[in-house]
Structure formats: structure tokens, C-alpha cells
């Protein structure tokens, strides 16, 4: 039991790396913020573009969504980070993580929202248009709020998964929380920095999970 405390809960070791871990946590939060914003915004935009029903454009969106859902995000990040330099395009790890994870979130958001949009009753569209609203006004104030409510539970799930995936950025050399903890673990020969990082992740994620649980409860007809 003593060896457990010494190797996993060693405050002396953690103390040495607190500045690094905090710096890592800040990068994790920045990654999450950027990815969630751009992923949700572009996913919503894609769903709206799909509403216009241009056949070729919809096919492109459909293929993008399916590919982004089928491939492991880590695979996509590795292709972007190690493959694109062969084209002379060298992106840093932070940019790769942001672009890939935002694109994957956009795909899932588009898919969910599109399903939600097609479920909103036709009468809602007709009524909104007949009061004189433009297409964008109708979408923004009448249809989208209803569609978002229909898919809020799975969307929250996806937001949580995306935030957790920021840890993948450690693979493409972004000094975020996991990467910092892993380095500290290597230097100190002690697993306590990983324990500290775990607590850091739980501090970010648990509130999101509890909120998601609340919404799932509320949505499910019981």
C-alpha cells in the first residue's frame, strides 16, 4: 500500500511538475474551445447547406460525413501530420488537432442536425414562411431551435467525446495535459503526474457528463 501511495499519489513529485501540468491543462482547454466552436458552427452550416437540396453538393457533404465518421480520428491526424508534409504542406500539431477534430465534430453535428431538421413537422416550415420570414429567419428562429432540442442528448454525447479526443493531440506533439503528464512521468519515473492529469481531465469532463445525463433523463419519455 505504501508503494502505491509513493508511486501514484506522490505529492512531492506532482509538486515539481505543477507549472507544466497547468500549462498543459490550459492548452487542453484552448484546444477544446476552438474545436467545439468551429466544429459545431461548421456542422450547423453544412446541415443548412444540405437543406437547399443541390444534388451534387449534398453528395459531397454525404461523402465527407461518412468518411469522417468511419475513420478513427487518430488515423486522420496522423495522415494530416505525417502525410501532408510530402505535399510541401507542413502544419504544426496544434493546427492538425484543431482541423481534424473540428472536421469530425462538424460531420457528426451535420448528421444529427440533418436528422433533426427532417423530423421537424412540415407545418412548422409552412407556417414560418407564411408569416413572411425569410429562409434564414425561419431557420434561425423557428426550425433550428426545435431541431437542436430533438438531438440535444446525442449532440452532448458527441461534444463530450470530442473534448476527450483532445488528448489525441499528444500524439502529434502538442504539449497538452496528457503529453505534459507523460513527459513528467518519464522524467520522474513515477506515475503520480498521470494521476494528477487524470484528476484534471475529470475536473473538465465530469460536469459535462452530469449535464448530459440530466438532458438524457429529461428527453426520454418515461
Amino acid at each position: 500500500m505504501d508503494t502505491f501511495a509513493e508511486n501514484f499519489l506522490n505529492l512531492d513529485v506532482v509538486g515539481d511538475y505543477v507549472p507544466d501540468l497547468l500549462a498543459g491543462m490550459w492548452i487542453t482547454l484552448k484546444l477544446a474551445g476552438i474545436i467545439l466552436f468551429f466544429g459545431l458552427a461548421s456542422g450547423t452550416a453544412l446541415a443548412l447547406v444540405r437543406m437547399v437540396r443541390l444534388r451534387l453538393l449534398n453528395l459531397v457533404i454525404l461523402v465527407f460525413v461518412d468518411v469522417a465518421r468511419a475513420l478513427p480520428p487518430l488515423m486522420l491526424m496522423v495522415v494530416a501530420y505525417f502525410g501532408l508534409p510530402y505535399l510541401g504542406l507542413r502544419l504544426n500539431g496544434f493546427a492538425v488537432a484543431c482541423i481534424v477534430l473540428a472536421a469530425v465534430l462538424a460531420a457528426f453535428t451535420e448528421e444529427l442536425l440533418w436528422a433533426g431538421l427532417s423530423t421537424v413537422a412540415v407545418g412548422q416550415y409552412e407556417a414560418a414562411r407564411s408569416t413572411g420570414l425569410t429562409f434564414l429567419q425561419m431557420m434561425g428562429s423557428v426550425i433550428l431551435p426545435q431541431a437542436f432540442r430533438l438531438v440535444q442528448a446525442p449532440l452532448l454525447s458527441r461534444i463530450i467525446a470530442t473534448t476527450k479526443n483532445t488528448a489525441l493531440a499528444s500524439v502529434v506533439a502538442v504539449p497538452e495535459l496528457l503529453s505534459q503528464a507523460n513527459t513528467a512521468q518519464g522524467y520522474s519515473g513515477n506515475a503520480s503526474p498521470l494521476t494528477a492529469a487524470s484528476l484534471g481531465y475529470l475536473a473538465i469532463m465530469l460536469p459535462m457528463v452530469i449535464v448530459a445525463r440530466h438532458y438524457e433523463r429529461r428527453q426520454r419519455p418515461e
Partner: protein, 223 residues
């Protein structure tokens, strides 16, 4: 354009690294065949233990599900892989991956099972019990068969996610598909192996994505 093809779709290089990629694909398939069934089994167990009456037990199961939904699987994997040796347990990469991903996946499956079981009207259970079936029999013959139909889209999409998660094994140097592709890319100084690996993933997982989308649509339309 030719240079592009030579860098990303180089058949000569593909031929050379193909055995390595195939080996990686086999490992990915093997990992998936371990993790998906184990995740399903543990998930079902957790959901069954979560019966609404039992106070402490129910609380413990909710904590299990929330904990692993909140904990990034890569962090869990690294913790298991680098942490367990401090206990004197010599974990190899393979079992670390199986343990970490089963814990993660089972929490998601548990949530799906819990919701599915709850969705069965209590009249069904009362009727089954009234005919003399025991609790276990009622679950096995009456509740689960009906629940599985409703849960199918969620079960499938969780399976898809579990299979994609096996790519994390590359981080602890287990030579699955992604790791094999990285090694091949390093050896050949060419991006073709990465593209080939992505296409292999796509070949196996795209049908699953299509099926999931279709079932999800049907469920949403039925509501």
C-alpha cells in the same frame, strides 16, 4: 500530378509494405473481436446490476458509467500501460489495450442497455412473472429480445466507436493497422502506406456507418 501519385498512391511501395499492413489489419480485427464482446458483456452486467431498487449498488454503477464516460480512453490506456508495472504487474501492450478499452466501451454499452431495458413497459414484466417465469428468465426471454430491437442503432454506433478506438493501441506501440502504416511510412519515406491504411479502415467501417445511419433514421422517424 505524377509526383503526387508517386507519393500517395505508389503501387510499388504498396506491394512492398502490403504484408505489414495486412498483419496490422489482422491485429486490429483481433483487438476488435476481443473488445466488442467483452464490452457488451460487462456493459450488460453493469446495466443488470443497476436495478432501480438497490440504493448503494445503483449508485456505484452510475459512478462507474459516468467515470468512464468522462475519462479520455487514451489517458486511461497510458495510465494502465505505464502505471501497472509499478505494482509489479508486467502488462504487455496487448492486455493494457484490452483492459483500458473494455472499461471505456462497457460504460457506453451499459448506458445503452440500461435505457433499453427501462423502455420496456412494466406490464410486460408483470405478465411474464405472472406466468411463472423467474426474474432471470423474464429478462432473458421477454425483456432483452424486445429491448435489443430498440437499442440496435445505439449498439451498432458504439461498436463502430469501439473498433475505431483500437487505433489508440498504436500509441503503446502495439502493431495494429495504424502503427503498421506509420512504420511502413517511416521505412519507405512515402505517404502511400498511410493512405492505404485509411482506405482499409474505410472499406470495413463505411458499411457499418451506412447501416447505423439508416437505423438511426428509422428510429427517429418512428418517434
Amino acid at each position: 500530378m505524377n509526383e503526387f501519385a508517386a507519393t500517395f498512391f505508389n503501387l510499388e511501395i504498396l506491394e512492398r509494405v502490403w504484408p505489414l499492413l495486412l498483419h496490422g489489419l489482422t491485429m486490429t480485427a483481433f483487438l476488435s473481436l476481443m473488445i466488442v464482446p467483452m464490452g457488451l458483456a460487462v456493459g450488460l452486467l453493469v446495466a443488470l446490476l443497476q436495478s432501480p431498487r438497490a440504493g448503494l449498488r445503483r449508485w456505484a454503477m452510475v459512478a462507474y458509467v459516468d467515470l468512464f464516460r468522462a475519462y479520455p480512453p487514451l489517458v486511461l490506456l497510458i495510465y494502465v500501460y505505464y502505471g501497472l508495472p509499478f505494482f509489479g504487474i508486467n502488462t504487455d501492450a496487448f492486455w493494457s489495450v484490452v483492459l483500458a478499452l473494455t472499461l471505456n466501451t462497457s460504460a457506453y454499452f451499459a448506458e445503452v442497455f440500461r435505457a433499453g431495458i427501462k423502455g420496456i413497459p412494466s406490464g410486460q414484466i408483470q405478465a411474464a412473472r405472472a406466468t411463472g417465469l423467474g426474474g432471470g428468465q423474464t429478462m432473458l426471454y421477454i425483456v432483452l429480445p424486445q429491448a435489443v430491437r430498440n437499442m440496435l442503432p445505439d449498439l451498432l454506433s458504439n461498436m463502430l466507436e469501439s473498433i475505431k478506438l483500437t487505433s489508440l493501441a498504436s500509441v503503446v506501440t502495439l502493431p495494429e493497422l495504424l502503427r503498421a502504416a506509420r512504420l511502413a511510412q517511416g521505412n519507405s519515406l512515402n505517404a502511400t502506406p498511410l493512405i492505404a491504411a485509411a482506405l482499409l479502415y474505410l472499406a470495413f467501417l463505411w458499411p457499418l456507418v451506412r447501416l447505423t445511419t439508416r437505423l438511426e433514421r428509422r428510429m427517429l422517424a418512428a418517434r
